[in-house]
């Protein structure tokens, strides 16, 4: 107990020392407060009254986006907004009602302004209306003395002259949301400031945003600006030059409108430059610029053809017979087949207890690899598939760009699926890979999923002599080159590539599956491969009773039509991939579109013209 007492004494002594020190500190602080507020109070009151220099942020103009020839695809229009600062009004409702005497403001905007005023600190101005015309601006300006707390701000409104045609490439801008507040930059907190929400506007936000300026403004006691003292101008965001050919893009968009839902991409087989990337239906990004109305938004969101989805980069489909070029190449590289290897097609292939059908009921007879591609004979690929093996087929698919997002510029890009044994174990938790699944995969059905962007890349890598080209959209940001056009040789035997190309040539020759879609102009002729991917499986009963014609099925159950193509045949430069959703067949629906696009791009020949730099 004595020891405890010793401990308590030691503690108490020392605790008193610390307590006393703190008491002194608190006294010093109290004295300091009195000094500042009483003795120096007058001095600081004068300083406070003179303290009228407020620093205002000047938002930068967003960088332009132009096509490869400098044609503007995204620019800025001047936009006048009416703002109200809640702190400076007696009653926000009353001010808004007063404002309605001069300009039209709908009830939705008033509700929105009142809601925003509740969520933000009262000194942050809220937007009441934008897109004022000159008459409205002058009317409000004239009556400002009667409208305390109201101010007019000139800002930028993003404008997209090509409307629907570039919606999926450029994307759109919108108000800063919680998720966009990655930094506490005061710029992002400014009312009406816009940031990229999708596609290139989002991807290149930091490049396009620019640097804010600063103005030192003298304000009166109510906080209203009296005089500007000093100004550092803002710096506009950098100009982004794209690989797109705007007129050709418009042409492609127009061409797709014959279908209910379709997507197409045309790119350079050598450099990877994308000349056109079109989706139909599309959306007009201009409707997002001033804030989209709820009705427009619901309409876009609920449309069964999904106009907001970028099907070229983010739409995944079983590649169907277009994938046969990859299977053929895998077989050639593996040494399982060569140009002389033939197979007999009776119209079906029996494996185990299963019968795998060729699309042509009577069969193709004896075919070699070129003929098998030209006629799209399924049985030829069924027969070689298990000798090659799924792992080698999948490896070739990956080399050709499938199952990879390819570092493409659009954030909407999806990687797709290239199944093999390891994939199935990981994704499906299933260790056994069935030979039947390899048979399905050999004709691009089953688990395999690819986007039109990947199919175009696959085609490019075959026809350019086996170079690992990658598609890109953004070429230059300011003076800086940001695209990657260096492709390395992937080490595929040129004779094998040649053989696959011959097969694709024959597709477009009399007897081939898409002969009717061949380009007639001399020197511009094309090669390609059709594909039809099943949406609904053909049942045994249906096969027995005669397969129903695609036209007789409801739209959403019809097959997707696919086509990959390139031109000109003797010196391939342009490749294209087309999907017509529920188009019935590749040859009927997709090939004619590909023909028109490849003909037009050859006529315009953007590849030989120099690209615009800033």
């Amino acid at each position: 107990m004595e020891r405890d007492q010793e401990k308590i004494d030691s503690f108490t002594r020392r605790a008193f020392i610390i307590g006393a020190l703190q008491g002194c500190a608190l006294t010093v602080l109290g004295a300091r407060l009195a000094w500042l507020q009483v003795v120096e109070g007058e001095k600081y009151k004068t300083l406070a009254e003179n303290n009228r220099i407020s620093i205002k942020i000047l938002p930068p103009s967003r960088g332009q986006i132009v096509d490869r020839f400098g044609v503007p695809l995204a620019t800025n229009l001047q936009n006048f907004q009416v703002l109200v600062t809640p702190e400076q009004v007696e009653s926000l409702e009353k001010t808004l009602t007063d404002l309605k005497k001069y300009i039209s403001v709908d009830d939705g905007s008033i509700k929105k302004a009142l809601r925003q005023a509740k969520q933000k600190p009262a000194y942050v101005p809220v937007e009441v209306r934008n897109k004022l015309n000159w008459d409205e601006v002058s009317l409000v300006e004239l009556n400002l003395p009667k409208l305390p707390g109201v101010s007019i701000q000139a800002g930028d409104l993003r404008s997209y002259p090509y409307k629907e045609a570039t919606g999926h490439i450029i994307g759109y801008v919108g108000r800063v949301s919680e998720a966009d507040m990655v930094s506490s930059a005061p710029l992002l907190a400014m009312p009406g400031f816009l940031v990229g929400k999708s596609a290139l506007e989002k991807k290149y936000e930091t490049v396009l945003q620019g640097l804010p300026g600063k103005a030192e403004v003298e304000v009166n006691v109510h906080g209203r600006a009296v005089q500007e003292l000093n100004r550092t101008a803002s710096i506009q965001g950098e100009r982004l030059v794209l690989s797109i050919d705007a007129e050709f893009q418009r042409f492609a968009q127009q061409r797709l409108t014959t279908e209910r839902s379709a997507a197409a991409i045309v790119m350079d087989a050598v450099t990877g430059a994308v000349y056109a990337l079109a989706n139909h239906p599309s959306f007009d990004p201009n409707i997002f610029s001033g804030g989209i109305s709820a009705m427009d938004w619901e309409q876009l969101r609920d449309d069964p053809a999904h106009p907001l989805n970028n099907k070229v980069a983010g739409g995944l489909y079983p590649p169907g017979s277009t994938f046969k070029v990859c299977t053929a190449l895998a077989g050639l590289e593996a040494g399982v087949i060569d140009e002389h290897t033939t197979a007999f097609c009776p119209g079906h292939y029996d494996f185990g207890n299963n019968r795998f059908h060729c699309w042509k009921a009577g069969g193709h007879g004896t075919v070699n690899v070129v003929g098998a591609l030209a006629h799209s004979c399924d049985v030829y690929f069924y027969k070689m598939s298990n000798a090659v093996g799924i792992d080698r087929i999948a490896a070739m698919a990956r080399r050709l760009g499938l199952g990879d997002s390819l570092n493409f510029d659009l954030p909407e890009t999806k990687a797709g699926e290239v199944p093999d044994i390891a994939w199935k174990r990981k994704q499906r938790g299933d260790k056994t890979w069935h030979p039947g699944e390899t048979i399905n995969a050999s004709i691009g059905q089953g688990y395999m999923l690819a986007s039109p962007l990947q199919l175009a890349t696959m085609t490019a890598r075959i026809v350019n002599g086996g170079k690992s080209v990658k598609p890109w959209l953004a070429g230059y940001a300011g003076n800086k080159k940001i695209f990657q056009d260096e492709a390395r040789d992937m080490g595929i035997n040129p004779r094998h590539l040649e053989l696959v190309c011959r097969g694709m040539e024959q597709v477009m020759q009399p007897g081939g599956t898409a002969a009717a879609a061949q380009i007639k102009e001399p020197g511009m002729q094309m090669g390609g491969k059709t594909g039809t991917s099943q949406v609904k499986r053909i049942t045994k009963a249906e096969r027995a009773s005669g397969v129903r014609r695609q036209e007789d099925l409801p739209w959403h159950l019809r097959h997707h039509g696919l086509f990959i193509g390139y031109a000109p045949v003797d010196n391939p430069r342009y490749v294209c991939a087309v999907i017509v959703e529920h188009g019935g067949s590749g040859s009927g629906a997709a090939a004619p579109i590909a023909r028109d696009l490849l003909l037009e791009v050859q006529k315009r020949n953007p590849a030989v013209k120099e690209m615009e730099k800033t």
Binding site: K7, L33, Q37, V38, K43, A48
Partner: protein, 379 residues
């Protein structure tokens, strides 16, 4: 595990009996103090309950509940977990340094999916608990020995090093202050202290090298605020103008021109004291400081009534911790100390700080409730 379950709430007292033992006077003072905070946040938003005052009020109500729950926990249980808790906190700090969520250029948060925790806040409490446990079992003569200095110093320096690496100099310094005070009242010999302070002064030039450029700049500007009136010195100058212009009676609630015209930066966080004193003047400022002084005195009073050395040290250390924050923040806004980015606990907007301060007061109350409890000796 049986120990944990059986002794989480001790059997000597009923829960109701324990609640009656809480020093409600201190809780009342905390409520008064928090109300001053709500009024200031309401004013900071230009006379609006959103976006700051209402979340803060909700958090405070929750925090009062937390305080009561902690207060009725059995102190033996807190005593037992003191060491393991400190080790866990150190591991969490390591995790933050390695994987921490990056926000505001510094890694302080650990995202556990459901909740985000800030281990540096926990470290302030765990260091105190750990040191209290250590000195609880040491006699006065043992505490004076040099060999018994190494372990407690490591208990402080390891978390401090990890917190400073985040980098969070303010919290690091406050752990050092709390730790030094604990070593002092724990009974480390006087001459060692004098030598230690001498060594610390000698180490200043070396420590200077390790500061970030922005931290160096803050200190330099503190020495001479007029050197940069529109840049970083702006904060101090503007805060002094706002305080001084408040005068004796203040400009009135919601009438603070400097804060409302946005000349005062960070008015809802670090500079909230300035906002209060501009609007309520010297009277308001001194009233607030008196409330704070009473809260702190209450803490010391609780510490003095405790029978066990552990409870004494815990109540004392946590009170010191709170007062260090208060003194440094108020000193900073008055231009007496460099701008180190330390908030005024509970008044500044922010949920984590509020909860951790109230949790600390919960532990202080727990010491009060169990002031007669006997705790075992031994490491």
């Amino acid at each position: 595990m049986a120990i944990f379950r059986s002794s989480l709430f001790s059997e000597d007292m009923s829960i109701l009996g324990k609640i009656r033992q809480i020093a409600w006077g201190q809780v009342f003072l905390l409520c008064v103090y928090a109300t001053i905070g709500f009024l200031s946040l309401y004013s900071a938003a230009g006379g609006s309950i959103e976006p700051w005052a209402s979340p803060q009020i909700i958090r405070f109500i929750f925090a009062i509940g937390l305080l009561v729950v902690i207060a009725i926990l059995d102190i033996k249980w807190i005593f037992r977990i003191a060491y393991p808790f400190h080790i866990i906190v150190i591991l969490l700090l390591l995790l933050v340094d390695i994987f921490g969520h990056i926000g505001m250029g510094a890694q302080r948060w650990l995202d556990l999916g459901v909740i985000k925790i800030q281990p540096s806040e926990l470290a302030k409490i765990s260091t105190i608990l750990c040191l209290a446990r250590f000195y609880h079992s040491k006699e006065v003569s043992e505490a004076k020995q040099f060999k018994n200095l190494i372990i407690p110093v490591l208990m402080v320096l390891i978390p401090v090093a990890l917190v400073v690496m985040q980098p969070d100099l303010g919290t690091g310094l406050s752990i050092v202050f709390g730790g030094v005070a604990m070593l002092f009242v724990g009974g480390v010999s006087m001459w060692l202290f004098i030598a230690g302070i001498g060594a610390a002064i000698a180490a200043v030039p070396i420590a200077w090298q390790f500061l970030h450029e922005y931290q160096q700049k803050r200190v330099l500007i503190f020495m001479n605020p007029e050197s940069d009136p529109l840049g970083a010195g702006f904060h101090i100058t503007q805060s002094k103008i706002a305080l001084g212009s408040g005068g004796i009676t203040g400009k009135g609630f919601l009438e603070g021109t400097q804060s409302h015209l946005n000349f005062l930066p960070e008015k809802h966080t670090d500079f909230i004291f300035t906002l209060w004193a501009e609007e309520w003047g010297l009277f308001g400022g001194l009233f607030l400081m008196a409330i704070l002084g009473m809260i702190i005195l209450y803490g010391y009073w609780i510490s003095f009534r405790c029978r066990s050395q552990f409870a004494r040290l815990v109540a004392f250390g946590l009170t010191v911790n709170f007062s260090v924050y208060v003194l440094v923040n108020i000193g900073m806004v008055m231009g007496l100390l460099p701008v180190v980015g330390i908030p005024l606990p509970m008044m500044s907007y922010g949920g984590t700080a509020l909860l951790s301060v109230m949790a600390a007061f919960g532990i202080i109350q727990c010491c009060n409730v169990h002031r007669d409890a006997r705790l075992p000796k031994g490491f």
